[in-house]
Symmetry: C2
Subunit: 338 residues, 2 copies
Amino acid sequence: MSKRATIIDVAERAGVSRSAVSKVLRNAYGISEQMRAGVEQAMAELNYRPQIAARGLRGRTYTLGVVMPSIRNPFFPDILDGIWSALQGTQYQPLVAVRHSVDETERTLIEMMLDRKLDGFIMIAPLVNRDYLWRLATTVPIVMIGRHETGGTFDTVNNDDERGAYLAVAHLIEQGHKRIAFFSFEPPEDSAVNPVVFRMRGYIAAMQAHGLDNYIQIRKTHSGASAEEDRLLARDMLSAKARPTAVFVWHDAAAINVMAEAQALGLNLPQDLAVVGYDNFGISALPQLQLSSIDQDAHAMGATAAGLLIERIEGRTEPVHFTTEPTLLVRRSSTVSA
Amino acid sequence: MSKRATIIDVAERAGVSRSAVSKVLRNAYGISEQMRAGVEQAMAELNYRPQIAARGLRGRTYTLGVVMPSIRNPFFPDILDGIWSALQGTQYQPLVAVRHSVDETERTLIEMMLDRKLDGFIMIAPLVNRDYLWRLATTVPIVMIGRHETGGTFDTVNNDDERGAYLAVAHLIEQGHKRIAFFSFEPPEDSAVNPVVFRMRGYIAAMQAHGLDNYIQIRKTHSGASAEEDRLLARDMLSAKARPTAVFVWHDAAAINVMAEAQALGLNLPQDLAVVGYDNFGISALPQLQLSSIDQDAHAMGATAAGLLIERIEGRTEPVHFTTEPTLLVRRSSTVSA
DNA sequence: CTGAAAGCGCTAACAC
DNA sequence: GTGTTAGCGCTTTCAG
């Protein structure tokens, strides 16, 4: 295992002091052109790269922790792409930690990243409670994606979930549907901040705005429901006497399960049942699925979150709350003409 | 931003020296029960957690870098789960870095993780050339997943791709097919180590073993082909005079594209065209896809890789090469009875 | 069994 | 402009 050049090696080779090298490294004030040139040459010759870990002991590690509840959801890669593109040209690098069991919240991950002295966190809808989060946010810069909460000291990036839901339902109404159900789930805790609550609100608003109060029907699975559980609930919903002719589903993964169950029950899609999901995740556009969905602009969410986090790390203290506009993507699952 | 307790705080509170605390921390030899108890109490009272970053400056960071070419492929989450389960009960934690552009290889990621002093890497089929990899492997412990190469100083974990392909093709032959094509791609470099080459070998072996030499047909897209490019090639293949009645596709994502194109051409699946993929990735079992596939046991691959990497970090120098057994999963895409 | 002290690679006052 | 020096939080000889 060969040896890596250190700042001392560079200093010796260039015939200058360590601090001179350090200054060149940091582009700090007070270094002559000549010295800079000499140092840079020495660095090149030695193939020197500063060890960020050591640098971190004094200051920053230039490493951002991205905390994900899963990488199975094809929605998250888009967020990551956004983060990455915002980080281009900066010194910061993202490192991803993924939650693995449901009984374990993100706390373990956060602590392990704290131990490793990462500079800040982008967290995606973590299962941590309010108190913990608020306290944590006074300790380290945090940007939260997918959590509607403006009281803490952390920044947030959210989609306008209420409006997105409204768009979805209005689209279904436009297709002639009246009996439109909302397929949802019961958020585990801090329900007021959960996007699903906003989507429900948008659903109700749209139904009411079109005089469909009497057709409102909300079905809920529990958080982290399996495909089987989703399908069980869907079967129950679709077997009822006056079954809905359309359903707005809180997110795409569940929407796919609802569609599968509908087909298993012999329904033709979209004639017998129209479906619209939320997230427009990676596979919704597949020819085999063609699921209509609300796009949150995950890329923008990621990019914005990364930008905000860096601002935070570099000193901003006022919380910022950013919202992306939802877009409706109409595909075959909700209309014959698509 | 409140202050975190350091080893000095603990030492003072317990009325002992820093080194004593350090020894307790590391379970090192030569500490009395009484002192240990006192130190542990002080740690608890101060809510002390050692800062791994500082520890890393001397020794290990207990952090493993997992380098992925993408998190879009639903095959990778299974590997990550395996890694995670093998790490349970150890001090090591995985941190994931994801490649984002194709023109950029994993080198950047590796270097940034090296700068951050991670202890070792699990890399999944990276786009780095042999020389770089071999040199790197003399510097830092590495376990490679999905690269058939036994000459370097790194460990490898692979599926028996040749056997997996054989299973897939034998299954199709059993279903009565003769005109079985292999839908593949041209590996960018170091092609001899690419799993796809082994799959091709298995395909050819199975065809020959059943006297179907004359029906061998291999189609290739290029590495990183888009869905459109896959479909274009599929269209060409399926529009030919004597089109194949079955196709073995090098991996599931491409198989889904082939199926989509077949349907667009008006073919009925699986009657007109049977399809088998490879990887059994997360969505192949969806009712809407029901893609037959070869399972590599991604979980075992991840778990094994993590175990090997820790052995390496803790001193082993002899390279180890591990192979998982492929399993055929028959679904609707290749047989009417499934 | 315990503690003093040097050192890991880099940063940041502070002198010169 | 440039170099000296004292840390950052932890580990690790090496005396006692």
